[in-house]
Symmetry: C2
DNA sequence: CATGTACGTTACCGATCGGTCACATTGTTG
DNA sequence: CAACAATGTGACCGATCGGTAACGTACATG
């Protein structure tokens, strides 16, 4: 057995076939949609074949769930990085988050929220990805409500939900608006005036 | 040739097979997602077969585009009905629209915005439904901006975009939040305080 | 009765789907 | 060298996909 490999110290240097498949699948799922990407296409794009795929993943559905878990990890890392410079200033944290969303949406490779897109594609209640989607969205709402509470908003639940909806709307507007300057471009300004109104 | 039928006075009483197929397809597309509903399933659910389908529609893609056009017609009819009682009071119209959205989302048969869901499923730039989606969303934005202008908001573009995002977010939150009381429940209150802040 | 329209039925096409089989190859380790 | 784990290869499965061809039938109109 390899010395520097015990199942958990991996993901270091070696380009394991499983990792190549997974990264390729994540990119394809996000750009083209889950139902528009077959297992064959993933394996081919990763420079391997379908059999190697099924040696690494139990099923496509499980891969999809894992894909969304990875997106969620990345999302929260991004979130924490954005709010870190404004520690102990929840209002600045919220503003920074929405400024971050705007510049994220501006990017060329942005196709909206992976979880929301997946929710539109997956309608089978038994799909393992559904729990990931719902958990992710519930956590977003929870964090915005916590930020509203930290800001001492007069109605933290309402303000938290408002921020959640604006956050959802901004990313989802990426796919639905053809123009390059969708309604998300003004969301930071909106949030500021909303905070002005809701904070005493 | 039938007397009471000249191509435009139709859609009256006779249960034409084309109409049955179309209504069935609209319901299935909305409930289960476009890519999860095959032509065979549509025909069978409409009590007919695939051949009758292709005698009425050029292709599935064209049916999908027609489905979204129908959803848009219904949406604007709903919209106009909601704002009609508040004529000459744009602020009340906006408030009525969001109260309407909340009660619409509360309904059991609500699966979010059909256009937004379709946008997540359709990633092929040449799909005939894309123009319908983009046109619908652009019109929503245009109307909210016009309402903001009619309200004499100090920055109609920003306020109009804010309303657009909240409108988008509210309906899209239907599929992404598992709980029965998603963040949309507070959107009417948010809109009121946003209007208070933005109107002089 | 003859004609034409609307519709039902069956079988079929090539392509793709998710998933599995048996077998050959590679590279590392002991 | 022997052994083993990881990977590549190609054929194959049943099911479903969007779409078509050929034919039969019901019915209303002239």
């Amino acid at each position: 057995m390899p010395t520097a490999e015990s199942g958990r110290t991996a993901e270091t240097c070696k380009p394991r076939v499983r990792d190549r498949i997974f990264e390729t699948a994540c990119a394809l799922f996000y750009e083209q949609g889950i139902n528009n990407v077959g297992v064959d296409a993933i394996a081919a794009a990763a420079g391997t074949n379908k059999m190697s795929f099924y040696r690494s993943f139990a099923s496509k559905d499980e891969l999809v769930a894992e894909y969304l878990r990875e997106r969620e990890r990345t999302h929260w890392k991004w979130w924490d990085d954005v709010i870190a410079p404004c520690e102990d200033d929840p209002r600045r944290q919220v503003e920074a988050l929405f400024e971050g969303v705007v510049s994220r949406c501006r990017g060329a490779g942005s196709w909206g929220c992976a979880a929301a897109n997946a929710a539109a594609e997956i309608r089978d209640d038994s799909h393992p990805a559904l729990a990931v989607i719902h958990g992710h969205k519930a956590e977003i709402r929870r964090r915005f409500r916590a930020l509203a509470r930290a800001m001492k908003a007069r109605d933290p639940e309402v303000l938290g939900d408002a921020l959640t909806l604006l956050y959802e709307g901004a990313s989802s507007s990426k796919l639905t608006f053809a123009c390059k300057e969708g309604p998300y471009i003004n969301v930071a300004k909106t949030v500021r005036s909303l905070l002005d109104a809701q904070l005493a």
